[in-house]
Structure formats: C-alpha cells, structure tokens
C-alpha cells in the first residue's frame, strides 16, 4: 500500500474515530435515544480452493483462507445520520506467499437534511476495488486498495399526481495504489503502463423524473452528465452523457419488470467519441413453489480502474430456491462482452456460472458453499484464463 494512499486514508480513519466517539457520546447523553444508535459486528471466514488464483492461465492451484472482521456503527438523528463501516480482509494461501494480501475498509458517511427535500451527504470510502472488469471482482489478484472522498447534494420533490423529481450533484476525488495498468490505446490495442496512478477527480449530475401509471406501474426519465479528469494522464479524461426512458411494473404479484433504454455518449479529450445505445431490462418471477428466476440484460458504459472505457453488453440469468427459511440454493450465470469500436479495440468476452448453497445454522450464523466457474476469452488474448473456485464461508453477525 503506498504512503500516499495511507495518508489519504488517515482522514477516513480520523473520521471513523470522530464518528464512533460522537455516536457513543450521543448514546450516553440520551439513553432514551438509544434506538437511534446502532452497531453490528460480523466476521466472515472463507476457505478457498482455486485452480487459477493468478488469473493467468497458469497450471497452479492454491488453497487459502480469508478472515474478514467487520464493524458497522451509526447514529440516526431526525435531520442527520452518521455511519461508519470498518473492516479488514486478511488473505493467506498455503505455499503461495505472493498471493497473501491484506485489504482494509473504512467507509464513513454523514448525511444532513438542509431543507425539506434537500440533503447533503459526505463520504470517505477507503476500500479495495476491482482493477479489471473482465476478472472476478473478489479475486485477490484483481483488487487494489483505493480511497474515494466525495460529497453529494440531493434535491427531491413530490409533484402533483405523485410525480417525483430528483436532482443530484456530486463531486469526488479518487486515489489508488500504483499498479501496472493495461491501458487501451486508440487503434493499436493495449499497452502496459508501469506504476500507473489511477487518481482522478469526478463531477456528476443526475436528473430523474418519475410518474405513476396506475397502481404499481411507473415510467421514468433519467439523465446523467459526468466529467472525469485523471491526474497522471489526459488520455482517459472524458465527459459522459446518458439519457434513458424507462418503465417498471409490479402490477402482477410475484412479477417485477423493469425496462429502460436510451442513448449515451462519451467524449474524450484526445480520442474519438464513443456513442452507444444504453439500456437495461430485467424480469424477476417468483413461482408459488418457492423458485425465483431472474433474467436481465444491459448495455452500458463501463470504466476500469485504469480508466479504459468500454461498452459492456451483459446477459444474466439465475434461479433461486428456498427450502424453508434455513436453506437456500441459487444458480446464476452471465456472459459479457466489452467493446470499444470507436478505438478499434478487440472485443473481450467473458462469463461465468455460480452455484451456491446457503444455510442458517443459528440466530447469528450462516454457512455457505459456493462453486464458481469463470472464463475469459474473446479477441483480446492477453487476459484470457479460466478458473474453477470453491469456497466454504462461515459468517457470524450480531
């Protein structure tokens, strides 16, 4: 972890301390207001067997164990709310010291109501984030410690006929560890940038309007304007605009449908613009026998930690079955394609499937078994790999 990230995260840790002191003080000062104070402690122990932990098509498997203690504290008053989420993720592998790493999480946020319908939220989020979109987001080799500090101003108003208007303005500053980044280059594929600093500043605004159509139906319009500027390179600096129209319905019991579609454009400082249809569609259907199935598709802009931007087309489907309250199982699969035709980049295709069986074995304890297969293929061969991973999780929360 670089000294720069540690220094930045100290603000967050200081804020955590302040938050904890404030909440405990508030609790002590007003015992009758104890309901406003909440905390949860949890621990997740994971035993992992992975046949490709390096995500590099090596013939080297590894077994490991993760320990992830966590503490959430918060205080909710009438006009403000403070929350802190602290945790660590300590990972150790047998005979694979290069894989053993530690990640930390300190997410502190405060929200205050300024006027009716107007609120300000400030947050500092020190946590690991995935470097590559096409690799598992929880893989040790795909995680980088990052810090994002930001603020968001929200304005919400209910109009006549239960129509709603929501406008937000947000700004943030992102800091990450240096890493060897694979950067997309215009027309020539990819290049490796040694010790890339993903630091950037971002500003965004959204405007949403929603109107009901009878009981449990609504249509909405949503637009977003975002600008991001990187400190180290101007190549990835961009302004992004999307506008979508959507509809959702819960008209039928056990069925939820949400469909939205529109247009998006990314304007880069020094490269060709990226234009695409953007949209989402999802259907969730719960059968009377306890089976739930979901199917969804999305087409959207995504950006990895190195700032490379793609149009991602994803299809997902999954089944979930509860056997009473104490046992559940789920099967999920997805396939995604990343493309950036404006820069003539090769298409990257990846997908995966996961089976999970979960059981609650006590008031506060859950045990889960997960098998996941992940395959990264497509025209961009450099990051191809396939991975089988099994995990047994023991989760305790109170």
């Amino acid at each position: 972890m670089s000294a720069r990230v540690i220094a930045l995260s100290l603000r967050g840790i200081a804020a955590v301390g302040a938050c904890a002191v404030l909440t405990w003080a508030a609790r002590a000062a007003a015992e009758d207001e104890a309901d406003r104070f909440h905390y949860n402690a949890s621990a997740l122990v994971t035993l992992v067997g992975d046949d490709d932990p390096y995500l590099e098509q090596r013939d080297e498997g590894a077994f490991g164990g993760y320990l992830a203690p966590s503490l959430e504290v918060g205080y909710r008053a009438d006009v403000f709310e403070l929350n802190a989420d602290l945790g660590a993720d300590l990972r150790r592998y047998i005979d694979e010291k290069a894989l053993s790493e530690e990640f930390y999480r300190a997410i502190v946020s405060g929200e205050v109501g300024i006027l009716p319908g107007v609120s300000l939220r400030v947050m500092d989020s020190f946590r690991p984030e995935a470097e590559l979109i096409s690799s598992p987001a929880d893989a040790t080799r795909n995680l980088q410690q990052t810090n994002r500090a930001g603020a968001e101003l929200r304005f919400w108003r209910e109009l006549s006929g239960r129509r709603e208007l929501l406008a937000t303005l947000r700004g943030s500053h992102f800091t990450g560890e240096d890493f060897n980044a694979v950067l997309a280059t215009d027309g020539s594929g990819f290049m490796t940038h040694l010790d890339f600093e993903p630091d950037h500043a971002e500003g965004a605004g959204t405007l949403e309007f929603q109107t009901p159509l009878g009981e449990r139906n609504s249509v909405y319009a949503r637009s977003e304007l975002l600008h991001r500027s990187y400190h180290e390179t101007e190549v990835a600096d961009r302004s992004q605009f999307t506008i979508q129209l959507g509809a959702r319905t819960r008209r039928f019991r056990n069925v939820e449908i949400d469909v939205a579609g529109g247009f998006g454009m990314v304007v880069f400082e020094s490269r060709d613009d990226l234009r695409s249809f953007v949209g989402d569609a999802s259907l969730r259907y719960r059968l009377p026998n306890g089976w739930t199935w979901r199917v969804s598709a999305a087409n959207r802009f995504v950006t990895d930690l190195a700032g490379s931007t793609y149009v991602e087309t994803t299809g997902r489907m999954g089944f979930e079955k509860h056997f009473g309250e104490w046992l559940s199982t789920s099967i999920a699969a997805f396939v995604s394609q990343l493309e950036n035709d404006a820069w003539n980049l090769p298409h990257n295709l990846f997908g995966g499937a996961e089976v999970r069986v979960q059981s609650r074995v006590g008031r506060h304890t859950t045990v889960a078994f997960t098998y996941r297969y992940w395959d990264n293929a497509g025209n961009y061969a450099l990051d191809d790999f396939n991975q089988d991973r099994v995990a047994i999780e023991f989760f305790y929360r109170r």
Binding site: E164, T206, Q210, S218, R253, N254, H322
Partner: protein, 397 residues
C-alpha cells in the same frame, strides 16, 4: 455514492403499506377494485379495522365476526350440504364444523380442506381463506356415515397485523410501524426475546372441565410437573383455565402436553387455533399454541383434547415488544431498517417486500397460516425452554 435508478423517495402512508402487504401476501383478492382503507385494515387484522392501543400494544377490541348455521335437515341422501354466509367485511376466515365423519369443504368452488370432526366432535379446517364482504356459498361433500351438525365461519383473529396504535389511513408509515407489521405478517412475533418469568398454570388446576376429563397422577416416561396432570379419559374433554396478566403485551402460550391428534385451543372468545402436538407414546411434548397481544387482566384459556390426551402445564411467556425489539428482530433476519420514528419511503418499503425471507414466507403464506405459522427455529425454542424451566416443579415419579 449511491447511483441506483429512482424507485421512489415518496413517503408512504399506512393505507398504501397495508395494501402492499395484502398484495404481497396474496390475500388482496378479497378486496374489491377500489378498496376502502377500512376494508384493507380489516383484512389484515381478523376483521378489525379499529384497534384500541393499550400500553403501547394493539389490543383488538370486540369479538371477531362469527356466523354459525345448523346444518339443513331437508337434504336428500348423498346430496352435499350447502349454506350461504353473508360476510360484513373482507377478512381471513376460519371454518369450523361440528359433526362426525370425513368431509370435504368448499367455499365458492375453492376447496378449503378435508376435515374430520370425529375425534373432538368439532374440527377447524386447516386452510384459512381470504373472503370478500358479501354472500359466499359453503359446500360440504360427506363420506358415508358422516354428518354435519353445525357450521361456523369466523374472522381469524390470530392473524392480526397492525401498528402499535392501530391503523390510520392518512398517517405516515414509520420504521416502527413497518417493523411491527412485517413481523406480524411473517408470523415472527414468537421470535421476540423473552421478557421475564412466565405465568405458569398446572394442567390439573383447571377451573372447569367437561365430562370425561379429570386429573391424574398416572406416571409417564417423564415426570409431570407437580406430580399430576389433566387428562381426557376415554372421550374428548374440554378444560378451562384462568390466567391473570398484569402487564399488557405480546405473550406466547406454550403447553406441555401428552397425546396424539388435533387439539382445539382458545383464548377468550377471539382466538381459536387448531394445533397438533408431536405425537408421544409415553411422555410429554412441548407445543406452541399461539403468540398474541393480550390486554391486562384476566383471560380464559380453553383446551379441547382428544381421548387419551392431557396437559401437564401451561405457560404464558411475555415477550419484549418495544419498537426497537421489532426492528432488531428484522435486522437479525436481514432486513434494512431505520430510526423507529423515521418515515418509510416507497423504496424502503419495496426493499422490505423483496427480502428473501419475506418472499419465502409470502409465497406460501396461506398454506402455512393455518398450519405452522408460528414455527420457530431451534434457538427460539431453546430460549423458551430456558425461560420455562425454572418455573416447573418436577415431582418424583
């Protein structure tokens, strides 16, 4: 920063929430196209739209609607029994039949179950059915030798979902009200923590008993508390008890019983449930009868047992039922919550209704309601036994 598409930040009122609950539980068919708020509230609380708050707990006032018929006598052999009940409000209704022999009951063409009143003389159908206000046809198909003497349709008061101060159409929904109604709708009140030492009544200390019932000191495989217990000898028998509740609140009635077959328990005039204890040959078993809101004062408890069955002890366990207890219970079950007095937005409400636990229970809500609605995990049963154990006075065999 949260970047989810808008669902709705509009704060919802209690009528809207009640309607969403009824819809999600699959009982909204009992409401018309444009239901009145009182109808929705009545559907969610055994026919009571108006609840009087007492000690911070909802205490349903007045008896639930109940209509009874003597079976028509001018009936040809093999012809089904048919009666028409006119119901004043939409509610979940329970059907009870007095008579003998196996019979299949249908309401408005929908089978509500097979009942056999032979062991007790009366039986309550397992299915609890949501019915609209207005006339409904009840039909029974009888097996050879079966007979119907009396039919009763009553609003099912054991299912009562309401905020602490009762429902009010225009009032904003708070997290406290949301938590109380969700816990009640999911049948989770039995999982609230035990508050104090239970009220214990020895089975043999009944106030009244019908013919064929009495006290015995007959020894079983495990000892009876106090050395004696109440038993129905040779025929079904009804025992009645009186319990004095000092503090209004949420109580669980848990009994230590012996025997096999359905038992019919009632508390006051409002609450009647059919329970089937785990069959035991030569010992006592614990059975959870009902968890309900009780006002302060005296309450009568009656138990109609089949031949050979008996009661060793009854325990009324008071549960902690502050707003914070309901919210903590839901958070333990994976629901997100907020400050008790904080209003609930439509997004918060939809998130609650989309919770896996809610979806699981709601998907089988009606089939579970008349059966094992108050089924509890082992740690809840363990806590109950720990609370009850000091109150037991074991006698040597």
């Amino acid at each position: 920063m949260a970047d989810e598409p808008l669902v709705s930040e509009r704060v919802i009122d209690q009528r809207e929430w009640a309607l969403e609950l009824a819809f999600s539980l699959g009982i909204a068919d009992a409401l018309g196209e444009q239901p009145r708020a009182d109808d929705v509230f009545a559907l969610l609380c055994g026919g009571r739209a108006d609840l009087a708050a007492e000690g911070g707990q909802p205490a349903p006032s007045g008896a639930p609607f109940r209509v009874a018929f003597d079976a028509p006598v001018s009936r040809r052999l093999g012809e089904p029994v048919r009666v028409v009940a006119n119901l004043p409000y939409p509610a979940l209704y329970a059907l009870s039949v007095t008579g003998i022999g196996a019979q299949r009951w249908v309401i408005d063409g929908r089978t509500v179950g097979h009942v056999d009143p032979t062991p007790l003389g009366v039986a309550q159908a397992k299915s609890i059915v949501p019915l609209q206000a207005g006339p409904h046809e009840l039909t029974a198909y009888l097996s050879h030798g079966a007979r119907v003497d009396r039919i009763e349709l009553a609003a099912y008061r054991p299912f009562c979902v309401a905020p602490a101060a009762g429902w009010e159409a225009g009032r904003l929904l708070t997290f406290a009200s949301s938590a109380r109604t969700l816990v009640a709708a999911l049948g989770l009140e039995r999982r609230l923590p035990v508050a104090d030492v239970p009220i214990t009544i020895e089975g043999e200390h009944y106030e009244t008993v019908s013919a064929y019932g009495g006290a015995t000191n007959r020894g079983l495989g495990d000892a009876a508390s106090g050395g004696a217990w109440a038993v129905a000898v040779d025929r079904p028998a009804e025992f009645s008890y009186r319990a004095r509740v000092q503090q209004p609140g949420v109580y669980s009635l848990i009994a230590r019983v012996h025997g096999d077959g359905d038992e019919l328990w009632s508390i006051g005039e409002d609450y009647r449930v059919s329970v089937r204890p785990t069959p035991t040959r030569d010992e006592f078993a614990w059975v959870h009868v009902l968890t309900l809101h009780l006002a302060g004062g005296e309450h009568s408890i009656r138990a109609l047992l089949p031949s050979g069955a008996g009661i060793d002890t009854l325990h009324l366990l008071r549960r902690r039922a502050r707003d914070a207890d309901y919210i903590a219970l839901l958070e333990d079950e994976g629901f997100r919550s907020g400050v008790p007095k904080q209003p609930v937005t439509q997004t918060d409400a939809y998130r609650s209704l989309a919770q896996p636990l809610f979806a699981e229970i709601a998907s089988q809500f009606l089939s579970r309601l008349g059966d094992d609605f108050q089924r509890a995990p082992w740690w809840v049963r363990r806590d109950e036994k720990r609370a009850i154990r000091p109150a037991l006075r074991f006698a040597t065999k």
